[in-house]
């Protein structure tokens, strides 16, 4: 197995799916000749031609709607948002058309929307957002948010083969910062399954995306103090793998929910709510949440650092909770 980056894993998954299935095609701004703002589709235009790697006019709602229409007649479009922030311009098509087609009238809508999201790149309010919470509160969508190259590859393949609209949240900060050995052959990571990325006994950290790595680092820092974290990487946000989360809580009896999105509402709130509702009896302490505060993402480095959950925040919370 070769070590590849997160972004290479995404590239590979796309490439292989395009080769495997003629009905897969890519559309979005600058995905063609240019190979995508983050070079995810590099070389594909040359390989698969301009109709299957389609440069669109600057119109998120238009090309997302078009992807929906194409999917209704049997295609499997993969839409690239240049930054996840711009998904707001396609919001209506996603939440009212794609998400509701199947429930309302049985219209199968197998589209994938790739959304490069997240902060820590000094991108400011419009190039750093974590918009998954909006879609998490929209029945009919599936949401995945891998933290590792191998998951990214397997989940993107699963997303493309799935018959429902899937938003694939790929974390920009991870693109070139993490590497991992990834199987070179065809494999799929099923949508809807969380993964224990680290077994532990004292506290369950429920998290996803870039924060998985923050949790892993915190865990190392906690070795000295003898606090053992069990880290649950949700991988799929919707539908949520309650079973794996609950099993972990039953084992550790203490929970930290760690997420990069803004605090109120969204995925992190739901995880806490689910636990306090369904496995309350197993809890030996409050469910702590570590997240971004309820503000836009600030630009200046000291502010962004303050804004984003840091390793020390996790360490501190874990110490507090362990002592509980």
């Amino acid at each position: 197995m070769k070590e590849i980056t997160y972004v290479e894993a995404i590239h590979q998954a796309l490439w292989e799916e395009m080769e495997r299935d003629d009905s897969v095609f890519i559309l979005g701004e600058d995905v063609g000749i240019y190979g995508g703002a983050f070079r995810v589709t590099e070389g594909m235009y040359e390989k698969f031609g301009e109709l299957r790697v389609l440069d669109t006019p600057l119109s998120e709602s238009g090309f997302t709607g078009a992807a929906i229409g194409a999917s209704l007649v049997g295609m499997r479009p993969v839409v690239e948002m240049q930054f996840a922030d711009f998904i707001s311009c396609a919001f209506d098509q996603i939440v009212n058309v794609a998400a509701k087609n199947y429930y309302r009238w049985g219209g199968k809508t197998p589209i994938v929307i790739r959304a490069p999201y997240g902060g820590n790149i000094h991108g400011g309010a419009f190039h750093s957002q974590c918009p998954e919470g909006w879609f998490f509160h929209t029945p009919g969508l599936k949401l995945v948010a891998p933290a590792f190259p191998s998951d990214a590859k397997g989940l993107l393949k699963a997303a493309i083969r799935d018959d429902d609209p899937v938003i694939f949240f790929e974390h920009k900060f991870l693109y070139r910062r993490i590497k991992e050995e990834v199987p070179e052959d065809d494999y799929v990571i099923p949508i809807g399954e969380a993964r224990i990325v680290q077994e532990g006994s004292d506290i369950s950290v429920i998290t996803y995306g870039a924060m998985v790595h923050t949790a892993l680092e915190a865990s190392k820092n906690l070795e000295e103090s003898g606090i053992s974290l069990e880290i649950v990487d949700l991988r799929t946000l919707m539908p949520l793998d309650k079973e794996t989360v609950f099993d972990s809580v039953k084992k550790t009896n203490k929970v930290i929910v760690l997420y990069e999105a803004t605090r109120s509402g969204g995925v992190g709130a739901e995880v806490a709510a689910l636990i306090s509702e369904e496995v309350f009896n197993y809890l030996d302490g409050p469910i702590l949440r570590i997240s971004a505060p309820d503000t836009p993402v600030p630009y200046s480095p000291p502010m962004e650092e303050y804004y984003l959950p840091q390793v020390e925040d996790v360490v501190e919370a874990a110490e507090k909770l362990a002592a509980y």
């Binding site: 109709l51 299957r52 006019p57 238009g62 194409a70 029945p139």
Partner: protein, 328 residues
């Protein structure tokens, strides 16, 4: 273009079927049997009937809510439609959706999302798929004059034109969007002027003349199929009722309605058929009889149909259910 006698009869049949089915729905509404809202395409039926009848079986439509004729022409039965209005299990969407929020992929009908003009980019996308696969199919979509003010209208037409997609966009210009008259909706005279922004060819047609709509659509589809790109077709007509059944439309000048009453599409078609010997009085009577029977049957069927089970509400969210996790 010569239109065959049989086609003319069919156009007349669907015009009548659309009119009378919607009238029946209105009367069911007045009886309080329709739990949600009810709209009709009254006075504008020639548009949906004409443009959909000109399609081939393989083509697809992405209609809007004054397109009852499309559903009927495409083959969705009046039985299923009335049942849909009554919220029955036998309705087009099994009770999940109401009234004209219909869709059935088996008949090449995409569902209508209430949000006006949302279906324009969707239609363009279907056309894109046909182009990618090299299929000679077309997509047709329509919206109201009001719907053309929405961003999705712009993004769809621009997209379709740049990519020369086999899609034809229709506008049912009935001169009002709810209470909003055309001059508060746009500064141009003809909706068709909108297409200039995309270098897209356009046509303006008498929306009350079903044969004219049929012909102009047929031509546009032919061009689209030949790879010559999209067309925008403005169908001029007049909304003869309120926006919906609960709207008395006091804001519409009575004279305007009087004037347009004379141009009723069914009247027009009847005269055309008889005057040109395309149909006899008896043939028309036979058609009327058929329409009547179909509607009676549909109502009976629907009223005798069961309601869905309440808990079907939580079924069918995903086409690929996730075994491991039950979300509901």
């Amino acid at each position: 273009m010569d239109v065959e006698r049989d086609t003319l009869h069919q156009l007349y049949y669907y015009l009548k079927l659309t009119r009378h089915l919607e009238e029946r729905i209105t009367s069911l509404y007045r009886q309080g049997k329709i739990v949600g809202g009810a709209w009709t395409s009254n006075g504008t039926e020639a548009i949906s009937v004409g443009y959909s009848y000109a399609l081939e079986k393989d083509d697809v439509t992405a209609p809007y809510f004054r397109d009852m004729g499309v559903f009927l022409v495409r083959g969705i039965t009046p039985r299923r439609i009335v049942a849909q209005y009554l919220g029955r299990k036998t309705g087009v969407t099994g009770g999940k959706e109401g009234n004209v929020h219909i869709g059935d992929i088996n008949f090449g009908c995409f569902g209508f999302p209430s949000h006006l003009a949302d279906n324009y980019p969707v239609a363009a996308g279907a056309a894109l798929a046909f182009k990618i696969r090299g299929e000679k199919r077309v997509a047709a979509s329509s919206t109201g004059d009001g719907g053309t003010s929405r961003g999705d209208f712009h993004e769809a037409l621009n997209f379709a034109s740049v990519l020369k997609l086999p899609v034809v966009f229709f506008c049912n210009n009935n001169q009002y969007a709810y209470s909003t008259p055309l001059e508060k909706q746009m500064a141009i005279k003809d909706v068709a002027e909108r297409s200039l922004a995309y270098a897209m060819p356009s046509e303006i047609v008498d929306g009350n003349d079903v044969v004219a709509v049929y012909k102009v659509s047929k031509e546009a589809y032919k061009k689209a199929r030949a790879g010559e790109g999209p067309t925008f077709i403005e169908c001029k007509t007049m909304r003869m009722h309120g926006h919906s059944e609960h709207d008395a439309a006091k804001y519409v000048p009575r004279e305007l309605l009087e004037e347009w009453k004379k141009k009723d599409p069914i009247l027009k078609m009847e005269n055309y058929l008889l005057e040109n010997n395309h149909a006899s009085e008896n043939e028309l009577k036979d058609i009327d009889k058929r329409v009547h029977d179909v509607i009676e049957d549909a109502e009976e069927f629907a009223e005798n149909s069961p309601y869905p089970d309440g808990k079907e509400a939580v079924e069918g969210l995903y086409a690929t259910p996730i075994e491991k996790v039950k979300t509901l």
